[in-house]
Structures are given as C-alpha cells and as structure tokens.
C-alpha cells in the first residue's frame, strides 16, 4: 500500500501538474534559459513557496519531524547542477 499505491498516487498528481504547466514540451524547458518563457521558474518557485509553507506548518504542528535527507557536498551539488543544465537545455527535458 504505502510502497506502491501511495507513490503512484503522488506520481499521478506530479505528472498531472507537470503537463498542465506545459513542461512536457521542448520549447517550455529551453525558453527558460533564453528568458523568453519563464514557466519553469514560475512553476518551481510556486511549488517551493507552497511546499515550504505547508511543510513548516506540518512541522510546527508536530506532524512531521524534518530531517533533511538531501546530502550536502557543496562542490558535487554545484558541479552536478552544471552538468545537469547542459543536458536539460540541449534535450529540453
């Protein structure tokens, strides 16, 4: 249940929102890097604003103990981002 149904449901909502934002399309992804269509940025920032608010609300209510599970290795995170951006801008994924 929690290992199969829950991720599928979360994925459904995730995929749905991605498509509704038009982010399945090549030009939407590339144009954020050309500053002609900032949908990707708007989508990311909007998600973060809502996400941060809710997560810290849940945390404040004691429903969630927050353990940052994303490891920090400054150079790797940044360098990985640099490599990632090349692929993203080229392929438009």
């Amino acid at each position: 249940m929690t290992t199969i149904v829950v991720p599928i449901l979360i994925g459904l909502a995730f995929g749905w929102s991605l498509h509704k934002a038009g982010l399945g399309k090549y030009h939407k992804i590339v144009n954020v890097f050309r500053f002609t269509d900032l949908a990707v940025l708007k989508y990311m920032m909007s998600a973060m604003v809502v996400g941060v608010s809710l997560i810290y609300l849940f945390k404040g209510l004691g429903w969630l103990t927050l353990a940052i599970s994303t490891p920090v290795y400054a150079l790797g995170n940044f360098a990985g981002g640099l490599v990632f951006g090349v692929g993203m801008a080229a392929a438009g994924f």
């Binding site: 991720p7 749905w16 498509h19 996400g51 969630l64 940052i68 920090v72 392929a91």
Partner: protein
C-alpha cells in the same frame, strides 16, 4: 407535484460547464497554479510517506540491473543507486500516467517524433537529429543528477522545500550551464 418532474425548461438555458470539468479539460494551467499543486503534492508526500518525490532516481534504479551485471565492482550501482523497484520507480509510473491522463483529457495527446514548436524551425524536421540530441542530452542530464544527488524535482524542489542547502547549490549551477548551453545552441537566434 414532484420537484423532479417540474423542470422541462432546463434545456433552453445553455448548460454551464462545471468549473472542475473545465479545469480538467484545459490544456494548460497557469504555471503558478500547477506549481502550487506540486508544492501541495510534495508536502503531502513527505507527510504521508516520508519520501520526497524525484524522477531521475528511478531511471538509475532500473538501469542499475544492467549496470551491476556489466560492471559488478561498480561502486555507484552497489551503494548509491542499487537496483530495485523502489518507491521512486512507482512514482515514475504514476508520473507518466498522470501526465498521460492530463494530456488525454485536455485533447493535447498526440504522437510526436519531433517537437513541432520551435525545434523544427531551428533544427529542421529530421528525426535522427532530435533523437540523438534527446538521447545524449538525457545521458548528460542523468550523469549530472547522479553527481548532484537529484534532479529538478528530487533535489531542487523536494530539497528546496526543506530548505536543504544542496538544492540552492544545484539550482544556480543548473541555470548557469543551461543558459550557456542555450546560448551556444541558439547563437544568433538566442
């Protein structure tokens, strides 16, 4: 008189479409609205499942089956991304189905071999070009995600909502090289 039988004039009024149905049918939402939906999804995912949604990890978990067979001593597939039908793999399946449902219901679904907008105007309609760039670009993207520890969703957004420093190192890196790559690819058409 029954109330149920007493509405013959309803057909004269143009039927107002249900708001929810209209939103479902809409091919595109405001990116702010769609983003808010993702923010809600990420928060619920953390609350309900204690997991962060990400999409690049699933590909690595799947390809690890091949990778571990081919190079058994590989550390990455042994420890970092071991093979398995993980939580992320199911999420990816749902992600695909969710996007498919959205495309289908908004009549946006179509088999496309080459992105018709922008790509054709700049690179031409040849299929091999698009497929080569998509394939190579996809490999670069996955390598980058592997080094950084996540992609736009798994690291930038899911990490960002927890205010993880890693996300805020990744995002500038991604935009710096993305902008430079777009500059190089588009040159004068930038």
């Amino acid at each position: 008189m029954s109330v149920l039988t007493a509405k013959p004039q309803e057909t004269d009024i143009p039927r107002r479409e249900n708001w929810l149905v209209a939103q479902i049918r809409k091919p595109q939402w405001s990116p702010y609205a769609a983003g808010a939906m993702l923010g809600l999804t990420v928060a619920l995912s953390l609350l309900v499942a204690g997991q962060m949604p990400g999409s690049s990890g699933a590909f690595e978990n799947l390809i690890a089956y091949v990778g571990q067979k081919a190079v058994p001593q590989n550390i990455y597939f042994k420890f970092v991304m071991p093979p398995g039908i993980t939580w992320q793999v199911w999420l990816l399946l749902g992600l695909f189905l969710g996007a498919l449902a959205s495309a289908w219901l908004s009549h946006d679904f179509k088999w496309r071999h080459v992105p018709e907008k922008q790509w054709v105007a700049i690179f031409g309609p040849q299929r091999w070009k698009r497929w080569t760039v998509a394939f190579v670009g996809g490999i670069i993207l996955e390598i980058g995600a592997g080094i950084a520890g996540g992609c736009t969703s798994g690291l930038a957004i899911s990490g960002g909502v927890q205010l993880a420093p890693a996300a805020f190192l990744f995002i500038p890196g991604m935009f710096i090289s993305g902008i430079l790559t777009a500059l190089v690819i588009y040159r004068k058409k930038y």
